[in-house]
Amino acid sequence: MKMMVAIKRVVDYNVKVRVKADHSGVDLANVKMSMNPFCEIAVEEAVRLKEAGVATEIVVVSVGPTTAQEQLRTALALGADRAILVEAADELNSLAVAKALKAVVDKEQPQLVILGKQAIDSDNNQTGQMLAALTDYAQGTFASKVEVAGDKLNVTREIDGGLQAISLNLPAIVTTDLRLNEPRYASLPNIMKAKKKPLETVTPDALGVSLASTNKTLKVEAPAARSAGIKVKSVAELVEKLKNEAKVI
């Protein structure tokens, strides 16, 4: 089966971001960018399904700036077959991304689309569900296990109280949770080979997608800072402080 994986270029998860002085956003100038960690898990799962003989082709797609080509090349080095970049300005909302992905799904007709459960920049956790709505496919969100069984997909999901198993008709949309797998590293020969794999660039206009949004960010602020705490010398002192100073026990 043909598979599609959506990936996002985001600020590296180890970077401590700073809010811009004019409150227009966070400062992303000269900070390290990477593939969103949940997207890495999505790519890994697709590659494993290909290695298991389930997937025949993996198309990796990103909706974002020209620089997202770097992350698409990374995905190609990890085992994706070809890449599509829907070139658009930064800071798209989830619905716009879902609409762009829907246009690619219509064209490519994958049986399974895997996305990360959320991007670590916007923390929205929306795009996969929105794509499922627009395509009218079933959704298996927060997946910690995925199994193709004939024309069905068995998904184990991480839910608040534990785990839930569901069965979905294919084609379907899956979003990955952290426990789904441990992503591999790209080897140097594979990074070199990935440079020769096809990477197509399209515009939202060419796909007939409007990126208009009903949400507008008015302001971005730093969270209220916690006042500095103290170090206590002993357990007895800790208990005393918690009882008499903080009054929480």
Binding site: K16, V26, Q164, I166, K231, V235
Partner: protein
């Protein structure tokens, strides 16, 4: 202006009871202002609806009792919600709110896309009927977002709002006959973690362990301490990945967000992702033998000590 709150229901032993997070969501709805209607969708939920009608501040409870809505499969529940807010002679819904639980996060974006509007995820405050605050970048920035959508679709971070009283209200109950069964998904089964301790996201005190615990057996020290404090037990991702404890105990950006009165971090270094899940706790205590650990930068009280000495000693003082 009328606000529809999509109730989350507990599964398993509590079968179908309204999830506590729903009460925080009703508080958020009250802050938006207007009549609050609560939707109870599920199978065999008549009794749950009766209980929901007693929630303070709720004007009406809508009950969609149908096999198609069992386990809140989004393929079936999302069209139900869309029909409720768009049908002719509708109740004039301006907002659809759900708690940012796994069910809420699963269903609501599907609703938003079907309505062709953007969703606002995990709001922590209501500035006005169309403007909300929400954390981004793992809680390292707070965005103020305005929605121009005719129907605003929003998930609510429960730790940002106080729960309303579960008793004292007297809402009318209205049955919804519609059955939307997409037939594309099926519930197979679930494995719920068993715990006698308070629920992590609702607990007043949380004791969490990290990689420093060494192994799963050592968590017994935390359980002893937690039982003396009436606390819930959480964990960092490192502890979950190492197999010490199940993943539903994970606190952080990808796990649960907690804001208890007291959070005791034991053997946890304090990565950005972990802090995202607990830095709104009123008082944070860190017990770590590495005095350079980042957790000490947010801890109100830090104790540099071996946890295997400090935790049992702490328990003995209580």
């Amino acid at each position: 202006m009328t606000i529809l709150v999509v109730a989350d229901l507990l599964q398993g032993p509590e079968n179908g009871a309204v999830a506590p997070a729903t009460l925080n969501t009703v508080d958020a709805a009250a802050k938006v202002g207007g009549d609050v209607h609560v939707l109870i969708a599920g199978q065999g939920v008549g009794g749950v609806a009766e209980a929901a009608a007693k929630i303070a501040g709720v004007a009406k409870v809508l009950v969609a009792d149908n096999a198609a809505y069992a386990h809140l499969l989004p393929e079936n529940v999302a069209p139900l919600i869309v029909a409720l807010v768009t049908e002719s002679g509708a109740k004039g819904y301006s907002h659809v709110l759900a708690p940012a639980t796994t069910n809420g996060k699963n269903i609501l974006p599907r609703v938003a896309a079907l309505l062709h509007v953007d969703q606002i995820s995990e709001i922590i405050s209501v500035e006005s009927a169309d403007t909300f605050k929400r954390p981004i970048y793992a809680g390292n920035a707070i965005a103020t977002v305005q929605s121009s959508a005719a129907i605003k679709v929003i998930t609510v971070r429960t730790t940002g709002f106080d729960p309303v009283a579960a008793e004292g209200g007297s809402a009318s109950v209205e049955a919804i006959a519609a059955a939307h069964d997409a037939g594309t998904s099926k519930f197979v089964g679930e494995a719920l973690a068993k715990s006698d301790r308070p629920e992590l996201t609702a607990a007043k005190i949380v004791v969490s362990g990290g990689r420093g615990m060494g192994n799963g057996d050592n968590f017994k020290h935390l359980y002893t301490l937690a039982d003396k404090l009436g606390a819930a037990v959480g964990a960092s991702r490192a502890a979950v990945d190492a197999g010490f404890v199940p993943n539903d105990m994970q606190v952080g950006q990808t796990g649960k967000i907690v804001a208890p009165q007291l959070y005791i971090a034991v053997g946890i270094s304090g990565s950005i992702q972990h802090l995202a899940g607990m830095k709104d706790a009123k008082v944070i205590v860190a017990i770590n033998k590495d005095e350079e650990a980042p957790i000490f930068q947010v801890a109100d009280y830090g104790l540099v000590a071996d946890l295997f000495d400090a935790v049992p000693e702490l328990a003995s003082h209580l």
